[in-house]
Every structure is written in C-alpha cells, then in structure tokens.
C-alpha cells in the first residue's frame, strides 16, 4: 500500500515540485498545507505516514507546527524542508522532533532518500 504524505509549504510552486517527485515515485500525497496551522489540522484529519514541512510559513511556522503535531502524536514522522540551513535551525528542528532536515533547493534523490529513510525507521 502506498505511503501517505502531507506536504506543508507556503509556496504553491514548491508544493507542486515536491508532489511531482513523490507521486512519480509511488507515494500518495494526501494533502497540501499552505501554513503551519493548516498542516496541524490536516495532520489530525488524515494521519499521514510522513510530513514534509517548510519552516518559513505565515500563520504558524514549521517549527511550531512540528511541536504541535508531535505533542498530540509523538510518533509523527516529519522531515523539514527549508531554504534556511543554519546549524542552529537544524538543531532546533531535530530537537522539536523532526527526523531529517533538507535544505532547498534539493536534488530529487536527496528528498526521496530522506523520505525512505524516515519511513523505514518507523514510529
């Protein structure tokens, strides 16, 4: 059964790019959130297997969203996907519970690798 993924990014262009990569590689994209708040809501509704989470988003940023999702579902599998890759940020994200951190722009393989690894590690 295809793994179900939720994409959270405020840029429609980025959501489209990530969705294309995932769908072409056999994943099921169950939702696209434009901001952290939407991401949290959609996560609760659809309980995806994995979330790709941008950091810089309006309403609620990705780090806050990770914390919110993980507090209600400690087993949530989330990988960060951001244009900002400074060490402090990466550490904050991992401490908040993200399983991996990809810096944009990323190669297709990097995204797929991160998704596969995060999913195989399990909950």
């Amino acid at each position: 059964m295809a793994k179900r993924i939720l994409i959270a990014d405020d840029a429609a262009f980025m959501r489209m790019m990530i969705k294309n990569i995932l769908v072409k590689n056999g994943y099921d994209v169950v939702g696209e959130a434009e901001n952290g708040k939407q991401a949290v809501g959609m996560y609760m509704d659809s309980k995806p297997d994995l979330v790709t989470m941008d950091i810089t988003m309006p309403e609620m940023d990705g780090l806050e969203a990770v914390k919110a999702i993980r507090s209600s579902d400690p087993g949530a599998t989330i990988i960060m996907c951001s244009a900002m890759g400074q060490q402090a940020m990466v550490m904050d994200a991992i401490q908040a519970g993200a399983k991996d951190f990809i810096v944009k722009p990323f190669q297709q393989e990097r995204l797929l690798q991160a998704v596969e690894r995060a999913l195989s590690r399990g909950k």
């Binding site: 840029a11 262009f13 810089t56 309006p58 244009a83 944009k104 722009p105 190669q107």
Partner: protein, 208 residues
C-alpha cells in the same frame, strides 16, 4: 536616519567578500533549482542612496518583479531581488521547464516560482554570512510585487520605516549557456540603523 559608516578599503574588501561568497552560494542554489549551469558576475558592489537604485535598475517606470524578504536577528533589514519583466518570464520558463519565450505573463504559479527563487537565494546568502561571521539571520515569508519600479520602491521605503540612508547594492548578472536566456537581477540589502555595522565588525574580526 543614521549616517552610513565611512567605507575604508577594509570595508570595501569585506563587501566584495560578502558579495562573492553570498551571491556565489545563492547562484549555486539557483543553478540547482534550474538544473542549469549558471555563471554570475557581480560587477557592482557598493553603497548607494536608495533613490539612486532606481536608475540602476532602469527607471521608475520599468516593469519589474520584486521579491522582498524581511530579515531579523543579528543583521535586521530587508533584502530585495529585482528582475525586469523579460528576465522574470525567462526565470519562470526555466523553473517550469518550458521553452524559452513561453511565459508572457505572470500567473499564480509563476509568481510562486519567482517568490521561491527569492526565498532560496536569500537562504543561501544568509547562510554564507553565517559561515563567514557566525552572525545569525532569519528570513521571513517572501513578499512579491510585479509593478512599476518607482511604485514598488516607494512602498518598500514606507514599509521599512527607519532605515540606513544607503543601501548595499550587489548588481548581479546571471549568464546562462544560451545567451537568449540571460537573466539580469539586482540584489539590494536595506539594513536597519546600526546593523550594517554589526556585519562589518564581524567581518573585520573574521578577516583579521
């Protein structure tokens, strides 16, 4: 408004270093996004009064796209990328994998693509500053405008409130394999009073 710090030759060297590394990293990111080899030159790295930046880009009536990103942290301010309409359409063509010349107007997806370019370029730029200086800078959600240059600059000045009189200008020319696809961009950094000094101080330490 504060007076911009006097520029010594050390400052100018530092400025060139920031622009080479910062824009270099940014262009590498852009090249990856576009899946193309992109060369760049930064023919101009200087401080200019805000008003003079208009002439640099092409005049108040030039139709341009502008991605502006608010920065917070150690060097608060705003970075702005300007592309004229031709360069904007070429950028969208390249990002969407379309034949050059396909895009003749901006739709929501095109706008989103250009905004994302600004987002990624900013991320690379502040990442480079961080590795050079350990100064930590955070970027916010990018804003986008496609309008006459004069109108955009006026609203940016109003929005920025108190700012240094002078703007850090890195004029950037991007060269592509196909000359028809050359993209001209201008990169400006508007900083809050005192924050450009943070940058120079940190660079002074880094370069001593």
């Amino acid at each position: 408004m504060n007076k911009t710090p006097e520029l010594s030759s050390t400052h100018l060297d530092a400025l060139r270093e920031i622009s080479n590394i910062g824009m270099g990293n940014a262009i590498t990111s852009l090249a990856q996004m576009l899946n193309r080899r992109i060369n760049m030159s930064v023919p101009l790295a200087t401080f200019l009064p805000f008003e003079e930046t208009v002439q640099l880009i092409g005049g108040a009536e030039e139709q341009v796209s502008c991605v502006s990103v608010s920065l917070s942290g150690d060097v608060p301010g705003t970075v702005m990328f300007f592309f004229n309409s031709q360069s904007t359409f070429r950028l969208v063509d390249l990002l969407m994998g379309l034949d050059l010349g396909t895009t003749t107007e901006l739709d929501e997806m095109g706008e989103s693509a250009v905004k994302e370019v600004g987002n990624v370029l900013t991320g690379s730029f502040i990442g480079a500053i961080y590795s050079l200086t350990s100064l930590s800078i955070k970027s916010a959600v990018p804003m986008f405008a496609y309008d006459m240059l004069g109108a955009i600059l006026t609203s940016l000045v109003v929005a920025s409130g108190r700012a240094e009189e002078q703007v850090l200008v890195l004029e950037t020319k991007l060269f592509q394999e196909q000359a028809e696809a050359n993209i001209n961009g201008h990169f400006f950094m508007l900083t809050e009073p005192g924050s450009i000094q943070n940058l120079f101080d940190a660079l002074g330490i880094a370069m001593s």
